[in-house]
């Protein structure tokens, strides 16, 4: 696997987690989610790939959706975490904490040994 492939797979794997984290506070519409991700991460390469991910999460019952038409210049589709979505996010957070801690330890050991 090339470095680019590894990097891309890491990015794709992280995107779902990042989207759920973005929605952990309040409901947001598509562009708002994208802008938040763009400000705090470099996970969004093509904006058009975020919407299919949101649609899948909604289809799986992880997100709830609602069209709001009286807020902006155009109707906006809002997403918010459902109860199973919040449970999934909690599980992902726990897994991520343990996963990243172990990798950090490995990286520090490798630095000390080199």
């Amino acid at each position: 696997m090339s470095f680019e492939n590894w990097q891309e797979q890491l990015r794709r794997g992280g995107l779902e987690f990042a989207v759920l984290l973005t929605l952990s506070g309040s409901s947001r519409y598509g562009l708002d989610i994208i802008r938040h991700l763009e400000e705090s991460t470099d996970l969004v390469v093509n904006e058009g790939t975020v919407y299919p991910l949101l649609a899948r999460l909604a289809q799986q019952g992880i997100l709830d959706t609602e069209w709001v038409s009286d807020e902006g210049p155009h109707p906006r589709k809002y997403y918010r975490l459902t109860k199973p979505g919040r449970a999934r996010l909690d599980a992902m957070k726990q897994h991520w904490d343990s996963f990243s801690r172990k990798l950090d330890t490995l990286a520090r050991q490798s630095e000390r040994n080199s």
């Binding site: 492939n5 797979q9 794709r12 598509g30 093509n46 058009g48 919407y51 210049p73 906006r76």
Partner: protein, 204 residues
Amino acid sequence: MKLSDAGQARVRGYLFILHRSLASFMPGEMARESLREVESHILERVARVEDGADEKRALEQILEQLGPPLKVAQAWAAEITFDEAVATGRISPILRALGYAAMSVQGFFASLALFVGYVAGFSFVAMALLKPIFPNNVGVHLRDGIPVAFGAIFPVPPGTEVIGGYVLIPIFLFVGALVLAGTHLAARKFVAWWRGRLRGPVPE
């Protein structure tokens, strides 16, 4: 920024191609909903562009950030249709996913082979169902003692003898179920592999 007629036509063109692509593998209602959301995204982005900015440049930048319509449709196929097919294994999403994959040369031949598998499986089951109704038409067809055909023929050509009694029914059912199960398993594996390809990034 407010779009000129030319700008609106550019957006309509983008959405038209996207809708055509989405509708080829998605249920109509879902395709319309997805399109509405992308349209809302574009208009929202346009509304944030300052008045007096170069419209053509700003619009092209917005569409470029969104990605080419075929690429966006591909992302939808990977996330929705292929994901549903892999997760549920139901025949309807699998057939939709195969229909999408068949738009490429490699996918076309793979989908064709799987389609033939499904048809063969259903044919065996159909023969099992037809045997009790048309016992003289379904079986092994012999001419001068040499097998020339196998299955159901209407009407049986003169000089042809049909052999094989009701014992063929469980055999047809067994073979049909085996072929259908094998084809379906292969289709699920293929769809899972194709989804990986769609999501997969840079070809090695």
